[in-house]
C-alpha cells in the first residue's frame, strides 16, 4: 500500500501542510488496540475548526488502548496526484490508511459535503457501499447535525450516533473493543446487533422503507427485533461533568477559526422557525462560569493562543455573560489574550460589550435581521423589530462605526416581493440613521442574502423551497433595489441551495444519485467554484428522481417523513403548531424566560434546561446585563447556517468584517 506523499507531490499542491500533520498537541498512539479515524469531509482548515472533533479527539485518546486520529478531505489538486500514483488516504497521526482503522467516523455538518465522504472512503481504500464492505474493513459511523436525516447516505454508513457524542462514542468504542477481544463473533452483522443495543445508535440496514404510490414514505420499520422503532438522540445532561479539551491540537497554518473555542452552552431556545440547530440541539444547558474559566486558563497555557472565542449558538444568551466577561478580561489582560464573541450577530447592539471584548473593529459591524419586513420577522419568530436594529446601529454610529453588514434570507415561507424589497429599504434606513446621527453621508452598508432551505425538524419542514427561477428573480429584485450609492449586495449561489434542499429533506432513494454524481466527479459541492449543478441534475434524472418532489412540494399534514424514526425529541405537534403560528404571524416566546412551549425535548429526554444566571452571581451585578441579553436576540442561528453553507467563509461574528 503506497502511503508516501513524495516531495514533488507536496511541493506541487496548495497548502501542503494540510497533509503532513505533526502539529503541537497531536496524539500518537502507535499500538492502540482500537483505532478510529475522525474524518471531516472537507479541507483541513475547515475541519480543524470544528469543535465537535476537538472534543471527541481529546476524549477518545484518554481511553486506554483506543486511539482517535484525524483525516481531512484532500483538495482536488492532491486527490488527482494521489489517484495518479495510487497513494492511499491516511490519518495524520500514525499514517494509517482508512482501511486499516477499526472505525471511520464522519461528521455530517452540511449536506453538500456528502460526496466528499464517498470520495474519502474510496481514497482510503474502504468500500464505498456498506453492503460491499468486507469483514476486514472498518465500520463507517456518522454523527453531527445532519444525522437527524442521514437517509440519503443510508447506503454508505454502517451506523449512526444520534446527538451528542461525549458519552455515546466511548460506549460504542468499548462495545467494539469487547467484540474484537471476543474474536469478532457473528462478523460485521454480529457487531451491528451488539452496537444497536446502545441508546442513540441507528443502523440503517435494520430498517425497511416502504413508499406510497405518490413516492412519499408509507412506513419505516425495523426488520430485526434488536432495532427500536424510533431512535432518540443522546444528550449530556450536565456539561460540567464531561471533559472539555484543555490541550487541543494547535495547527501550524491558519485555519478558519484559529483561536481557543470555549463552548459556553449547548442548545438555543429562541425558537426561530427556520433554524435546524435551534431545534436539534435542545435543551439549553450552560456550563458553569467557574468551569469555563478553569478550562480557559488551561487552554491558554497549553496552546499559546492569543484569543478566546466564547462559542455557542447564541453567546449573548449566556445567563452570566456580563460578569463572566469582566472576569475573563481581567484574568487574561496581562497574558495578552483577548476575548471575543464570535457568533454574536447582534440585533440590539451593546457598545459596552463590543468595546469590552474588542470583537468588533471599527471597520464594520454585522447584524442579522434575517428578514426585511416586520411581517416576515414575525413569521420566522425572530422576535426583533426595526426599532431594535435602528437603535443598535445608532449606538454603533455614535461610537464611530461607519460600515454595517446586514444578513438576510430570501425565500422564506409566504414571502412577497414587498417583503423582499423591504430588505433594501431597511438598508436605506440604516444609511439615513447614519446621516441623522453624524450629519454626513457615506455610510457603507453591505446587504448579504442566503436562500432559505427548509430543514427537517423545523416548523418549516412542510414548506416548498423556492424554485431556482424564483430565487434568481428575487435576487434580481434586490440587485435593482440596492443600486444605491454605498450599498453593496452579495448573495449566495441559488443552485447550491437547491441541492442542499434536496438532500436536507431527501430519502434513501437519493443514495443512488449521490453515488452516480460522485462517480462522475462531484466533490466539494459546498465550494461554488467546483460545484456543478447540471451534473447533479443529470445524476438525479438518470436515477429516475425528481428534485422538485423533494424541494418544491407542499408536504401534507399527515405525511410520513423519511426521518421520523430518528428523533431529536422535538414533538411533531409542536412543530405543526409553530408552522400554524407562522402563517398567522404570531410569535412564540423563549421558554427560557417564560413558560414551557411544549416542544417536548426536556420531558422526553429527562434533561432540564440549565441556566446558572440566578445562582452564580450577585443579582446587582447581573442587572446591568439583563437588558443586554434580552436585546441581543439570537441572530446566531444564521451564523450557524452560514457556517454550513460556505465552509470556506471565515465567520467571526461580533461583526468584525
Amino acid at each position: 500500500m503506497n502511503k508516501e506523499l513524495a516531495i514533488d507531490m507536496l511541493a506541487a499542491v496548495k497548502k501542503p501542510a494540510r497533509y503532513t500533520g505533526g502539529e503541537f498537541g497531536s496524539i500518537f498512539k502507535e499500538d492502540a488496540e482500537v483505532r478510529i479515524a475522525l474524518a471531516f469531509p472537507d479541507v483541513y482548515e475547515v475541519g480543524m475548526s470544528y469543535l465537535g472533533f476537538k472534543i471527541l479527539y481529546h476524549l477518545v485518546n484518554k481511553m486506554e488502548g483506543i486511539a482517535a486520529e484525524r483525516v481531512y478531505a484532500p483538495w482536488i489538486d492532491m486527490e488527482q496526484m494521489m489517484r495518479e500514483r495510487q497513494v492511499v488516504l491516511t490519518t495524520l497521526e500514525t499514517r494509517r490508511a482508512l482501511c486499516e482503522c477499526d472505525l471511520v467516523g464522519f461528521t455530517l455538518q452540511y449536506e453538500l459535503s456528502y460526496t466528499n465522504i464517498l470520495n474519502m472512503l474510496d481514497l482510503g481504500g474502504v468500500s464505498v457501499l456498506a453492503t460491499e464492505r468486507g469483514e476486514e474493513e472498518p465500520f463507517v459511523v456518522v454523527g453531527g447535525p445532519c444525522v437527524f436525516n442521514p437517509e440519503p447516505l443510508a447506503d454508505i454508513f454502517d451506523f449512526a450516533i444520534l446527538g451528542e457524542g461525549e458519552e455515546a462514542l466511548p460506549e460504542v468504542l468499548a462495545c467494539y473493543q469487547a467484540w474484537k477481544r471476543d474474536g469478532r463473533p457473528g462478523g460485521r452483522q454480529g457487531f451491528l446487533h451488539r452496537v444497536v443495543q446502545i441508546p442513540g445508535i441507528y443502523v440503517p440496514s435494520f430498517y425497511d422503507v416502504v413508499y406510497n404510490e405518490d413516492n412519499t414514505v408509507q412506513s419505516v420499520t425495523p426488520n430485526t427485533p434488536d432495532a427500536p422503532p424510533t431512535v432518540t438522540k443522546r444528550v449530556v445532561a450536565d456539561l460540567n461533568k464531561v471533559d472539555f479539551p484543555t490541550a487541543p491540537v494547535v495547527p501550524f497554518g491558519e485555519i478558519v477559526h484559529d483561536r481557543i473555542m470555549l463552548e459556553m452552552f449547548r442548545g438555543c431556545s429562541r425558537g426561530c422557525r427556520f433554524c435546524h440547530a435551534g431545534m436539534v440541539y435542545r435543551p439549553v444547558r450552560e456550563r458553569r462560569p467557574e468551569v469555563l474559566r478553569e478550562i480557559a486558563h488551561k487552554q491558554v497555557e497549553n496552546t499559546g493562543y492569543e484569543e478566546i472565542s466564547l462559542v455557542s449558538l447564541s453567546t449573548a444568551d449566556y445567563s452570566c455573560l456580563g460578569p463572566f466577561l469582566d472576569e475573563m478580561i481581567t484574568d487574561f489582560k496581562d497574558k495578552k489574550v483577548s476575548v471575543s464573541l464570535p457568533s454574536l450577530r447582534i440585533d440590539a447592539f451593546s457598545v459596552d460589550v463590543a468595546k469590552k471584548v474588542q470583537a468588533v473593529r471599527k471597520s464594520g459591524l454585522t447584524f442579522a435581521p434575517e428578514a426585511g419586513s416586520q411581517r416576515m420577522r414575525d413569521v420566522i419568530n425572530k422576535g426583533v423589530t426595526e426599532d431594535d436594529l435602528l437603535h443598535a446601529v445608532s449606538a454603533a454610529f455614535e461610537n464611530g462605526w461607519k460600515k454595517v453588514k446586514l444578513y438576510f434570507m430570501i425565500g422564506l415561507p409566504g414571502e412577497t416581493d414587498e417583503d423582499v424589497l423591504a430588505i433594501a429599504q431597511l438598508a436605506r434606513k440604516v444609511q439615513w440613521k447614519f446621516k441623522e446621527i453624524t450629519g454626513k453621508g457615506g455610510c457603507q452598508v453591505t446587504v448579504s442574502t442566503s436562500s432559505f432551505v427548509p430543514k427537517p425538524y423545523t416548523a418549516f419542514q412542510w414548506v416548498p423551497q423556492d424554485t431556482l427561477e424564483e430565487i434568481h428573480r428575487k435576487q434580481g429584485l434586490l440587485i435593482e433595489a440596492t443600486r444605491v450609492k454605498n450599498i453593496s449586495f452579495q448573495y449566495h449561489d441559488g443552485k447550491t441551495s437547491i441541492m442542499e434542499g434536496v438532500f436536507a429533506r431527501g430519502d434513501r432513494r437519493l443514495g443512488k444519485a449521490l453515488y452516480l454524481a460522485w462517480q462522475r466527479g462531484q466533490r466539494f459541492d459546498g465550494w461554488a467554484d467546483v460545484f456543478d449543478f447540471e451534473r447533479w441534475q443529470q445524476a438525479l434524472k438518470d436515477c429516475g428522481l425528481d428534485p422538485d418532489f423533494y424541494n418544491h412540494r407542499q408536504r401534507g399534514g399527515q405525511e410520513v417523513f423519511p426521518w421520523e424514526h430518528l428523533q431529536p425529541a422535538v414533538n411533531r405537534a409542536f412543530l405543526a403548531n409553530e408552522y400554524r403560528k407562522a402563517k398567522q404571524e404570531l410569535l412564540t416566546a423563549d421558554c427560557r424566560q417564560g413558560s414551557c412551549n411544549g416542544c417536548g425535548v426536556c420531558q422526553r429526554l429527562g434533561v432540564p434546561v440549565m441556566d446558572w444566571g440566578s445562582r452564580a452571581y450577585d443579582a446587582s451585578q447581573e442587572k446591568g446585563f439583563a437588558s443586554l441579553a434580552e436585546k441581543m436576540a439570537g441572530g446566531d442561528n444564521l451564523s450557524y447556517s452560514l457556517a454550513t453553507q460556505s465552509p470556506g467563509l471565515p465567520q467571526r461574528g461580533g461583526g468584525a468584517e
Binding site: A6, L10, A17, Y19, G22, E23, S26, E301, K336
Partner: protein, 234 residues
C-alpha cells in the same frame, strides 16, 4: 536581554511555510512562558524574529530565533522550557544570551551551507568542474508574483563552488551560498542553473534540500558561528 536559539525544521514539517513556522515559534514561546517583551501600542507584538527565511520544503538544522525578554532568565532553563513547548519537527540545538542592544541576528547572517540530494544518476562530474572553473554563471530569476519582472543574477557571486557525490541511485551536491543585505539565492535555483547551463536534466521537483548551517562572515571572509553557543545535550 535577548535569547538566541538554534532550532531545526526537520523533515516531517518541511512543508510548512515560513509564516507558519514563525507563528508556531511564537506560540511555543508563549507556551514556554518565557518573559517575552512586546511592542507598545494598540496591537502589541511579541518581539521575536528569525535570522533568515527558509523556502517551503527545505529542511534546516540551522534556524535561528532571537527573542527579546523583559527580565533575565537562565538560558539553559529557558531552552529546556522552549524545547518542551515545540512540536515534533522543531528541536532546540543551542542557546545563547546577548544584550538587548546587540545587533539583530537577521542582519548578521552571511552565508548558508546546503546539501541537496536528487534521485538522479547521470554524469555530473563535468558539469561540476565547468561550474567551479567558470568566472561567471548567469541565471534568469523569475521574480515571484510579478511574472514580467525577471532578474539576471550571477550564480557564482552567491555560490562560488559546488561538490558532488554520486551513489547508486542518487546524487548529492554540497555548497555554500552567500547571504547579503540585498538577499541571497534559492538552493533550488542552483539545480535550475545546472540544468540550463549543462543540460543535466536533474529532477528539480524531487530534490531533497537541507540547510546544514547558517553562519556569519567577517570582512576577511572568515566564517563564524551565529551563536557563542551553549550547546544542548540531545
Amino acid at each position: 536581554m535577548k535569547l538566541r536559539f538554534q532550532i531545526t525544521k526537520d523533515k516531517e514539517i518541511r512543508f510548512i511555510s515560513h509564516l507558519e513556522y514563525v507563528r508556531t515559534i511564537g506560540r511555543a514561546i508563549r507556551r514556554a512562558k518565557l518573559p517575552a517583551a512586546y511592542s507598545q501600542g494598540f496591537n502589541p507584538h511579541m518581539k521575536y524574529s528569525l535570522a533568515s527565511a527558509l523556502g517551503v520544503g527545505v529542511v534546516s538544522y540551522a534556524e535561528f530565533v532571537e527573542l527579546e525578554l523583559t527580565e533575565p532568565v537562565e538560558p539553559l532553563a529557558a531552552a529546556a522550557a522552549f524545547k518542551k513547548a515545540l512540536p515534533r519537527g522543531i528541536r532546540v540545538l543551542a542557546v545563547d544570551a546577548v544584550e538587548t542592544n546587540a545587533p539583530a541576528l537577521m542582519s548578521v547572517a552571511g552565508g548558508a551551507e546546503y546539501r541537496v540530494t536528487v534521485p538522479w544518476t547521470g554524469d555530473i562530474a563535468a558539469a561540476v568542474e565547468q561550474f567551479n572553473r567558470a568566472p561567471e554563471v548567469t541565471f534568469v530569476k523569475q521574480a515571484p508574483k510579478t511574472k514580467e519582472k525577471v532578474k539576471t543574477i550571477d550564480v557564482k557571486f552567491y555560490i562560488p563552488e559546488i561538490s558532488a557525490v554520486q551513489r547508486e541511485d542518487e546524487t548529492e551536491l554540497r555548497f555554500h551560498c552567500r547571504i547579503t543585505h540585498n538577499g541571497s539565492m534559492k538552493a533550488v535555483d542552483l539545480l535550475n542553473t545546472l540544468n540550463e547551463q549543462y543540460g543535466l536534466g536533474l529532477p528539480v521537483e524531487k530534490a531533497d534540500i537541507e540547510r546544514l548551517d547558517l553562519y556569519r562572515v567577517d570582512e576577511q571572509g572568515n566564517k563564524w558561528p551565529m551563536l557563542d553557543s551553549l550547546y544542548i545535550q540531545g
